[in-house]
């Protein structure tokens, strides 16, 4: 009789115990799959919300802009770049933006803010904050003297739709520019940080305020067709940008004015066939670089999940230890007889291991079925949550309890169970090797 | 002398998976107070079944058992437990002591269940352990005792609650003849001392010799009473 067949019959000798063991493994797998899928869903939504509301998938600026955010960090003559990047197969849309701090005031009230000059029609292809219009309308490409402000700022300066506000910007060359603009729309971006800061004008208006005119911009924002190939596209964009390098000279800046080139700056030069060129003139940042806080949040959350997984499986392993020891102790006599008639210890161990795996695998099947069903239910019928928690308020997407199944959510719990299946019979195996046939046969 | 146990037309049929087996057929007899009676028969003749039915741990298919004129069929499970506790004592073939309790505690166990207070319990247990000659083994666990000693503890446990009737199911079967003889002598002694009724099932000639009344049973029927 083949050993695997014996093992199979053995595990059904004590149906109640086997059933409970399977229940333990199945429950763990089911609940962990659901748990990880929900965490996945949350993370996915947080990123989506942030990326789609304002950040976009990839941003291109002059190196250092992300940190300094100053008007000195412009990029020039970007139409060509925009066209080339737009032609990449994975890119859905590209838009240019001008960013600058500003002070807006209405009657007696004023508020500092971040003014963003956008290309309205292109922006709609990259981000979806135009959907956040609560009153009025979104900007049109040809608009000049109009502005969109967020509801929080509107409240602060007591401005309403169609009010005429004054905006003041310290331009790129240091001069203070002011202009009167009419409020065309009021936005709610879902993110308190953005809501407290953002005002939107057209690129043309912003160009005039900042002194950038039509040539210079602060950043290019790029939307991809999907999150896949983020790194690949980033590299492709870097390749395109290698050809554009017109302005670096000015940037070796105010700080190190003396013409002495320090060593660390020298590192920025690389030798090419054509002589010395500047690399790293641009920074091409994907959302993973831009949303550091969220990425760190997710990393930490993942380590918490792994920790939970580990703890649960330690408990399961201990329980299965017990199950196998009990099942061996019950059959001590039987094992004694088998040993006496010449069965090798290794064969008995093999049998016990098969029993262990059979239980774990049935557990995996049952658990996965439960976990997947529950996850799919939550995928198709997500639960709305209303919460003020910061992490849920990254953008206009209102978070839901939504389960997203992926390889990670399936493989992690299953791998854990398989390892459990490996470790669980260990103690029992030790017992088998120690077994003395003569004694075992006499035990009752 | 009134009857402690009256068995009237008791039949017992076991319905296993196969053919129904009739273990007892229309059995009637009675045991009077203070008797020392043995039910004899070969193995499989139904004597253990009969004893179990008298002991109220099994119920007859038909017929009735009266313990002190009370029909056991009319009683609830709880009342039966209460009867076993106060009226009956048991001695089993394989001793069946509770392995985690010492001799003293084993003997004390039934008293505990009866709700006897600490002081009285101690008194009674000391007395019965003295009766069975095991005062010095009071604190030993069953596994530390020989078979004969274990059976003596079982006797002590049975007698401690001062039952009206002690049912002993082949008490000597697992013992050698010397120990067996000693045990029978002990039980006879107790029978005298406490006026307890003993009912054995056995096929040990030594027991039959000692018994004052013998009920022979074969294939579930009483064949002889003397």
């Amino acid at each position: 009789m083949p050993i695997y067949k014996m093992a199979w019959r053995n595990i059904w000798r004590n149906k109640r115990r086997t059933g409970l063991s399977i229940a333990v493994v199945g429950f763990c797998i089911g609940i962990l799959i659901l748990f990880i899928a929900i965490i996945n869903g949350l993370q996915e939504q947080i990123i989506k919300s942030s990326v789609n509301t304002f950040t976009s998938y990839i941003q291109v600026h002059r190196k250092g802009f992300d940190k300094e955010k100053s008007l000195a960090g412009f990029i020039e003559k970007t139409d060509d770049m925009q066209k080339q990047i737009g032609k990449l197969p994975s890119v859905e849309g590209v838009t240019a933006r001008i960013l600058s701090s500003a002070l807006i005031s209405y009657e007696n009230y004023s508020s500092g803010c971040l003014v963003v000059g956008i290309e309205p029609s292109n922006e709609k292809k990259v981000t979806f904050f135009y959907r956040g219009i609560k009153e009025g309308h979104f900007l049109e490409d040809q608009d000049e003297d109009t502005i969109l402000i967020t509801k929080t700022i509107a409240q602060r300066i007591s401005a309403k739709l169609n009010s005429e506000i004054t905006i003041m910007v310290q331009g790129y060359n240091g001069s203070l520019e002011a202009r009167n603009l009419k409020i065309k729309g009021i936005l709610d971006l879902g993110n308190p940080e953005l809501n407290q800061n953002l005002v939107i004008v057209t690129r043309k208006t912003a160009g005039e305020l900042t002194g950038y005119k039509s040539q210079k911009i602060s950043e290019l924002a790029i939307r991809l067709k999907g999150n896949k190939g983020l790194q690949k596209t980033t590299n492709e964009i870097k390749n395109i940008l290698k050809k554009h390098k017109s302005f670096y000279g000015e940037l070796v800046s105010e700080k190190d004015n003396d013409l002495f080139v320090e060593e660390d700056i020298e590192d920025n030069f690389i030798k090419t066939e054509k002589g010395i060129e500047f690399e790293k003139e641009f920074e091409v940042l994907s959302w993973q670089d831009l949303l550091k806080a969220i990425v760190q949040f997710i990393q930490f959350e993942n380590s918490v999940v792994h920790f939970i997984l580990m703890i649960v499986y330690v408990a399961v392993i201990l329980i299965l230890f017990n199950v196998f020891i009990m099942s061996i102790m019950e059959r001590k006599k039987e094992f004694g007889i088998m040993k006496a008639v010449g069965t090798k210890s290794s064969q008995l161990i093999f049998m016990v291991c098969i029993e262990s795996f059979a239980i774990v695998i049935i557990g995996i099947i049952v658990g996965s079925a439960i976990g997947i069903t529950a996850s799919l239910t939550l995928y198709f019928f997500p639960l709305e949550i209303a919460s003020a928690v910061d992490i849920f308020n990254q953008g206009m997407l209102r978070p839901q309890v939504l389960a997203i199944l992926n390889m990670k959510s399936l493989l992690l719990p299953i791998a854990g169970a398989l390892i459990t299946g490996l470790i669980a019979p260990l103690l029992a195996c030790r017992e088998i090797t120690k077994l003395n046939p003569a004694e075992a046969m006499h035990s009752s | 002398m009134s009857a402690v146990v009256r068995v009237e037309n008791v039949s017992k049929t076991y319905k296993g998976r196969g053919v129904p087996v009739e273990a007892l057929h229309d059995t009637s007899f009675s045991v009077g107070s203070g008797e020392f009676t043995a039910i004899c028969g070969p193995s499989g003749s139904g004597k253990t079944t009969l004893l179990n039915i008298i002991g109220t741990i099994d119920s007859p298919t038909s017929g009735s058992v009266f313990i002190e004129d009370k029909d056991t069929a009319t009683l609830s499970k709880k009342q039966l437990a209460s009867i076993r506790l106060s009226k009956l004592g048991f001695i089993f073939q394989s001793y069946n002591l509770i392995p985690v309790l010492t001799c003293q505690e084993n003997a004390e166990f039934v008293l505990l269940l009866q709700g006897v207070t600490q002081g009285q319990r101690e008194e009674i247990v000391n007395e019965v352990l003295k009766d069975v000659g095991l005062e010095d083994k009071k604190h030993a666990f069953p596994r530390e005792l020989s078979g004969g000693q274990q059976q003596r503890v079982a006797v002590a446990r049975a007698i401690a609650s001062r039952p009206k009737l002690i049912l002993a199911d082949e008490p000597t079967a697992n013992l050698d003849s010397k120990t067996g003889k000693d045990l029978i002598d002990l039980m006879l002694e107790l029978n005298q001392k406490y006026e307890v009724t003993f009912l054995f099932s056995t096929h040990d000639p030594m027991v039959m010799e000692a018994a004052k009344k013998i009920i022979s049973i074969k294939d579930g029927r009483i064949v002889d009473t003397k």
């Binding site: 700080k255 969220i294 | 069946n96 446990r157 609650s161």
Partner: protein
């Protein structure tokens, strides 16, 4: 061992058996004479518990939970006291009943007579007194309204069976008093609120009326099974005023249905949420049960219906409770109630249970059962050890998680308070959300005096807040400007702390008293003194500015003019909130007043730190009544709803995790116990054969699991204590997560400390023990279901 059946010497102590063989009349005389039967110490308390009938007391506790669900702001200790008081409320009523109706009960419930005999009539009376004193003390611990209520209503409740009124004898009013058993706990629940809102809302009054009607119907029901008994004794009850059992029970059915349906109008008037009507699903078993009651026409069977009705009532009130407010506390109350309800049979702590045993119960000796259980546990050492491992591991983990959560959440609050939020902020009107500079407070000496008079206030400081723009070279940044008083600000926030004190200041120094002055100080013509400013690290990086450099701050004054001033950077601070570091600029309040054209008594904010977090809400209430209504008084949780929500979400995760681990562990326990039960089936058979009762056997198995859980609680605590100690002293450093920390609600100190909470840990223990006992019911049931003969032949 013969018993004197005639002429007993009543003054003599009788043994149990002697007592049992007395005729009932003599038994009563014996008990009344005050002589106790022999009993041991533990029995005495157990008997008191049995006579108090805990399972009937759970309806009261649930009603209490329902009561406090109607009001907010109830603190945990008060809830605990309240629950205890509600429990004792019914408990002492039951004791009273036993005491007064003891003679009637002697015939109906002989088991109870026996219990009273063992306890002693005088001891019963004493325990009654103790119970009542205890209740008053507990009520005094809660609050004044509760105390008054308890003192006033309690005597009325006791009049149910006590002379002189003995309201039991008056059918309708008696039933009403009976209904106080649930209504009073409900009222207590409503009274245990802390706020000064009107005591009773319309909603709670509606619920109170409903409960009255509902429990009065229960009172009618309760009297039906005693119909024949009472009729024979010529007692007038709500049942015996009817001519037959049938009409009495039909009347009960009608009352019950009407009582339940009374919920519908309440819901229609919007006094309870509509979803509460779901609980009317219980009407189906209720009606079936009532119909059965009409049919049985027999006291004993009627009592069985009564028992079912009580179960249904508990189910109903639990549904009502959870539908009214679904929170962790109410779930805990529910689980606990169910545990007592079903557990009281298993542990034999209900005195009515013994009505069918003529001779009374054998309590056995718990100590011996515990001893046997303990020894049984160690028969298979390895298995027990592994099981203990699993359980200790879960216990340890649970304690750790709870301590971590406690410390973490407290840290979130403490850090956020220290980072400048403070516990309470007072502003003018809606200043907090709009930060408009024309919304300022006029601070005068009267207000200052008032502020000093509050004991709760640890410190307070006045601030000015405004929106503006900071610029340096050609860079600009919109900012939130804080004008602070360098003298008082350090008492409420941490911006004066140097880096070595884990303060947020990473470079430079804090503002000085003179940091508002401008010009050549001390007639020193060489140094032009600029007012000082503190900025965040993010802004410093953005501006690429250093200590000593000067930057421009632009503001709009209250009058609407744009004002600019030059400031010198004194210090750079770093918190874990990126937006805060990028946008907060701190200057001297006098400078801020100057720029905003405020007078020296005009401020935008009063920031208050209280002595203890629990003082926060009451103080806010006081401030609201003491200060003008044009002020907005915000507490920490109103200023940071995001953090409050974060803590809530975090709690959900922790509960999820703990529950998961517990389900796993429970299955582990079931496996072990089942195996150990099946190993010993033969032994159990023997035990049953020699007269052990099934209930004793159950107790034995439950005792084994009780031991397991107690030992694992101890082991788990010992295991986790070094880790907890480390967590409490060193903490867990998460500073590597610089940017993400704020999303985990960490604002200042990137170290998470655990905090041991005795209250929570004891709760964990209770949960572990309850769960273990509940799961071991299954093996216990398996063990007792077996036929003795089969069991004895089982190998």
């Amino acid at each position: 061992m013969s018993t004197p059946s005639s002429l007993p010497q009543l003054s003599k102590k009788l043994t149990l058996r002697q007592f049992q063989e007395l005729p009932t009349d003599l038994k009563i005389d014996y008990v009344c004479s005050g002589v106790e039967l022999e009993h041991n110490f533990i029995d005495k308390y157990k008997i008191i518990v049995m006579l108090g009938r805990p399972r009937t007391c759970m309806v009261g506790v649930l009603a209490y939970a329902l009561g406090y669900s109607y009001v907010g702001n109830v603190y945990a200790p008060i809830i605990l006291f309240g629950a205890l008081l509600s429990f004792l409320w019914s408990f002492s009523a039951n004791l009273h009943n036993t005491y007064t109706d003891f003679k009637e009960d002697a015939y109906n419930l002989p088991g109870r007579l026996y219990l009273v005999a063992r306890l002693g009539y005088r001891n019963l009376y004493r325990s009654l007194i103790v119970c009542n004193i205890l209740k008053i003390i507990i009520a005094a611990f809660m609050n004044l309204p509760c105390l008054i209520f308890a003192v006033l209503v309690q005597p009325l409740v006791h009049q149910y069976s006590f002379p002189p009124l003995r309201l039991k004898g008056r059918p309708i009013i008696g039933v009403w008093v009976f209904s106080l058993a649930v209504v009073s706990p409900f009222v207590l629940g409503v009274l245990s609120q802390q706020t000064s809102d009107p005591l009773f809302s319309t909603e709670s009054i509606a619920m109170m009326l409903f409960l009255t009607v509902w429990f009065m119907a229960k009172g009618f029901f309760k009297n039906v099974p005693d119909y024949y008994g009472d009729k024979a004794a010529n007692l007038t009850t709500s049942a015996t005023i009817f001519s037959s059992w049938k009409s009495a029970s039909i009347f009960t059915l009608a009352c019950t249905v009407v009582a339940y349906l009374a919920l519908i109008p309440i819901a229609i008037f919007n006094l309870v949420p509509l979803k509460v009507l779901i609980s009317l699903i219980w009407l189906i078993p209720v009606v079936i049960n009532c119909l059965k009651l009409i049919e049985v026409n027999d006291g004993a069977k009627g009592n069985y219906c009564l028992k079912i009705d009580m179960l249904i009532s508990v189910g109903f009130i639990i549904t009502l409770l959870l539908l009214t407010k679904f929170n962790i506390l109410n779930i805990v109350v529910t689980v606990f109630s169910l545990f007592i309800l079903f557990g009281s049979d298993w542990f034999g702590i209900d005195s009515r249970r013994n009505q069918d045993t003529s001779g009374g119960s054998n309590l056995g000796d718990e100590m011996i059962i515990a001893k046997i259980a303990w020894r049984n546990l160690w028969r298979n050492r390895r298995r027990t050890l592994i099981t203990l491992c699993v359980m200790s591991f879960s216990v340890a983990f649970m304690i750790y998680m709870v301590s971590l959560a406690t410390g973490y959440h407290k840290g979130i609050i403490a850090n956020s308070v220290k980072a400048g939020t403070s516990h309470i902020q007072i502003h003018k009107e809606t200043f907090h959300s709009v930060l408009k500079s024309d919304l300022f407070l006029e601070w005068n000496s009267k207000m200052e005096e008032k502020m000093r008079s509050y004991n709760e206030v640890k410190a307070y400081s006045l601030r000015i807040k405004s929106l503006g723009l900071a610029s340096y070279t050609n860079k600009a940044q919109n900012i939130t400007l804080w004008g602070v008083n360098p003298k008082t600000e350090p008492t409420i926030s941490v911006f004066h702390n140097e880096v070595k004190n884990k303060g947020p200041l990473v470079e430079g120094s804090y503002l000085k008293e003179t940091d508002y002055l401008e010009g050549y100080l001390d007639n020193n013509p060489h140094v032009f003194h600029l007012p000082g400013v503190l900025i965040g690290k993010k802004m410093a990086e953005h501006f690429d500015i250093r200590i000593g450099s000067s930057m421009v701050v632009t503001l709009q004054s209250a009058g609407g003019e744009i004002k600019q001033n030059l400031f010198q950077v004194r210090g750079i601070f770093q918190t874990l909130i990126p937006t805060y570091d990028a946008r907060t600029v701190i200057i001297h309040h006098k400078m801020a007043q100057k720029m905003l054209s405020y007078s020296s008594s005009q401020f935008s904010e009063v920031a208050i730190v209280v002595n203890d977090y629990s003082d926060m809400k009451p103080l806010a209430e006081k401030l609201k009544s003491d200060f003008s209504s044009s002020f907005e008084i915000l507490t920490w949780d109103q200023i940071h709803p995001n953090l409050v929500d974060f803590i809530r979400v975090d709690n959900v995760f922790i509960v999820f995790f703990v529950v998961t681990l517990f389900v796993v562990t429970s299955i582990g326990i079931v496996i072990t116990l089942l195996m150990s039960v099946f190993e010993r089936v033969h032994e159990f058979g023997v035990m049953l054969a020699i007269g052990m009762k099934e209930s004793n056997l159950k107790s034995l198995i439950l005792a084994e699991s009780l031991w397991l859980s107690i030992v694992s609680c101890i082991c788990g605590s010992i295991l986790i204590s070094p880790v907890l100690y480390m967590g409490q002293t060193q903490g867990i450093d998460v500073s590597y997560m610089l940017e993400g920390a704020s999303l985990w609600a960490i604002s200042l100190d990137p170290t998470i400390y655990t905090e041991f909470s005795l209250f929570a840990t004891l709760g964990c223990f209770a949960l572990v023990i309850c769960v273990t006992l509940i799961v071991s019911l299954y093996p216990a049931k398996k063990a007792t279901k077996m036929e003795i003969v089969q069991a004895m032949n089982f190998v």
